[in-house]
């Protein structure tokens, strides 16, 4: 496996803060897309912004990417101010935007070459680097193809390869796997894991809980432009949810009608349109308790708590509507 990140310092320094936001605000007219958030990202970690659409994740990412002026508060990337040192900051960042923004008029390898030239790299440098990155993105055989002949997953991998052309210290990924099929997602996660192991700092947004749990060391949950919780996936789950969840489906239109049946079984109950979620520490024990009451649900399932449950508990809403 080629290492596309040769120039990365491997050992994290104690006080190596790469992104630091304090009271960060972004407004569009009257609308406050980001409403005073505090974020600190350290070198080498994978940091996630989790939240539904419109939570302010992308606006935050654009400010961190030094392409969107800060409306209020303080933001430093590598200790630099994006208002004055935009080009210097962007030279050290890799950006994977939500829509790939690939250059459809160019071939796969030309996309890497030209993008590298935007960073002021020489023709020789970008050719060498493009070879490594095509290998990393498993696109070597497609090097001379036009971009529009690639599948969605391949385009995404090319976008990630492109974002690495300048050997960035921080990789910003805005919903990296949205719109990809499950197989393509897993290939992509694998590539991101490799990068993380090589010491690249990952900052990503997602509205997929499994993605956040898979990739992030630490994350913030955002809602309406604010941070509602912060921590590692595991800590968030233990702080805001129970160990297990009992899901119950009944044959009726409104699951609220069955709230009394499960009263007192778990710590709390969430009502979804198609099921009840009973938060308990021991799912099987709760099942027996409910069966003991003579209640026969259409179906039942015991699972571990996920970040979805955390989000539901914190905001009262599902992540994906």
């Amino acid at each position: 496996m080629t290492d596309p990140r040769q120039a990365v310092p491997r050992q994290p320094v104690a006080d190596d803060v790469l992104v630091r936001a304090r009271g960060l605000v972004k407004t569009f007219g009257e609308f406050r897309a980001v409403d005073g958030i505090d974020v600190t990202v350290h070198r080498g970690e994978a940091f996630g912004f989790l939240g539904p659409n419109g939570a302010g994740k992308s606006s935050t990412m654009r400010m961190v990417g030094a392409v969107s002026p800060v409306s209020g508060g303080e933001l430093r990337i590598f200790g630099l101010d994006p208002a004055t040192d935009g080009p210097a900051i962007r030279a050290r960042l890799g950006v994977v935007p939500q829509a790939d923004h690939l250059d459809e008029e160019l071939t796969v390898e030309e996309n890497l070459w030209i993008y590298g030239r935007y960073f002021g790299l020489s023709g020789r440098q970008v050719r060498e680097r493009a070879r490594e990155l095509l290998d990393f993105a498993q696109l070597t055989e497609r090097a001379r193809h036009k971009v529009d002949s690639l599948s969605g997953g391949m385009k995404r991998r090319l976008t990630i390869a492109r974002s690495l052309i300048n050997s960035p210290e921080v990789l910003l990924l805005d919903e990296p796997t949205t719109g990809l099929d499950p197989q393509a997602r897993h290939i992509l996660w694998d590539r991101l894991f490799r990068l993380k192991r090589q010491g690249v700092t990952l900052v990503l947004t997602t509205h997929y809980m499994d993605e956040a749990e898979q990739l992030c060391d630490r994350l913030v949950v955002m809602d309406h432009g604010r941070i509602v919780a912060e921590g590692s996936p595991r800590n968030l789950i233990s702080a805001h949810s129970t160990r297990e969840v009992l899901e119950l489906r009944f044959d009726l239109d409104d699951h609220r009608d069955r709230l009394d049946d499960v009263d007192g079984v778990g710590e709390r109950v969430e009502v979804l349109p198609d099921r009840l979620l009973v938060y308990v520490d021991d799912g099987d024990a709760a099942m027996s308790a409910i069966a003991g009451r003579g209640i026969r649900p259409l179906s039942s399932l015991v699972r571990r708590s996920t970040l979805e449950d955390v989000f539901l508990h914190l905001t009262g809403r599902s992540l994906i509507d």
Binding site: G65, S68, T84, H101, D103, E105, I114
Partner: protein, 275 residues
């Protein structure tokens, strides 16, 4: 970070300067366009052929009906010699406008090319300068080829025609800059009819095909206000060897237009894309 006053001062300066930031990497935007163009070289051929077709249709065809024309500066020349400089100026305009409107609009709205560029050290100024430069490079190539054809056709009358090439590039600059600026205001393809509305009458009436003296005086003033008139007058003076001080006035007009366009375009790109 140790001197908190320094960044504040820089920010103030950045806010006062009318020209948005760039990283001095505009040439990479040109390089990108050259790379892309290598896949679509056929467009280069058509861009060259158009003015040549016009030259032979009008110069040879119409020239047979209108043997001689008296220019506004008083010299008597064949119709082909009269119309060739104007076609050079008009093709410089057309090429620049096409590039800076349709192509730039597509890149900005659909390909999101500039969003990708702005995620790198490139700034809005690099994009504006790069796109305009590319347009000039391409226009310069067409103009050189056209001049060669005009020379072979025997319609070039003076050594000052050597300056007609840089002049054509300069005309292209003015139109490409304004074209890019105008494009940043376009909402959809429908708005491009306004461009056609501006370009077509200019192409037909800016003393391209007949002298200014043909117009009644009030209309002469209107014609003299259009940018293409200055381009045509500049090229005609150079190719027919009628150079005098008025050439400076044409140059000044086009220069002002070009600067307005570049500054305006980079500011608009900043406002649209760096929100």
């Amino acid at each position: 970070m140790t001197a908190p006053t320094a960044p504040a001062a820089t920010r103030r300066r950045a806010a006062v300067l009318p020209i948005p930031a760039g990283a001095g990497l505009a040439r990479m935007v040109v390089l990108r366009n050259i790379t892309s163009f290598r896949h679509g070289w056929i467009a280069l051929v058509t861009g060259f052929l158009e003015p040549v077709f016009y030259l032979f249709s009008l110069g040879v065809g119409v020239g047979a009906l209108v043997p001689h024309v008296t220019t506004d500066r008083g010299s008597v020349v064949t119709y082909a010699a009269f119309v060739a400089p104007a076609l050079l100026a008009a093709s410089a305009m057309n090429g620049a406008v096409y590039d800076s409107t349709f192509n730039v609009f597509f890149k900005m709205k659909y390909a999101k090319l500039y969003d990708a560029m702005l995620a790198t050290p490139l700034g809005p100024r690099d994009i504006a300068v790069g796109e305009v430069s590319w347009s000039l490079l391409r226009g310069g190539l067409y103009s050189a080829a056209f001049l060669l054809v005009a020379l072979l056709a025997g319609v070039v009358h003076s050594w000052s025609a050597l300056l007609a090439l840089p002049a054509a590039v300069f005309i292209g600059f003015a139109f490409a800059a304004v074209g890019t600026f105008a494009t940043t205001f376009m909402r959809s393809w429908v708005d491009f009819d306004y461009i056609t509305l501006a370009i077509q009458p200019m192409f037909l009436f800016s003393t391209t095909f007949f002298p200014l003296s043909t117009f009644p005086t009030p209309l002469q003033w209107v014609v003299q206000a259009t940018p293409l008139y200055h381009g045509v007058a500049l090229e005609r003076a150079l190719m027919l060897g009628e150079v005098d001080a008025s050439v400076l006035w044409h140059v000044a007009y086009l220069l002002a237009l070009g600067i307005l366009g570049v500054v305006g375009a980079s500011r608009r790109i900043e406002r649209l894309l760096l929100r």
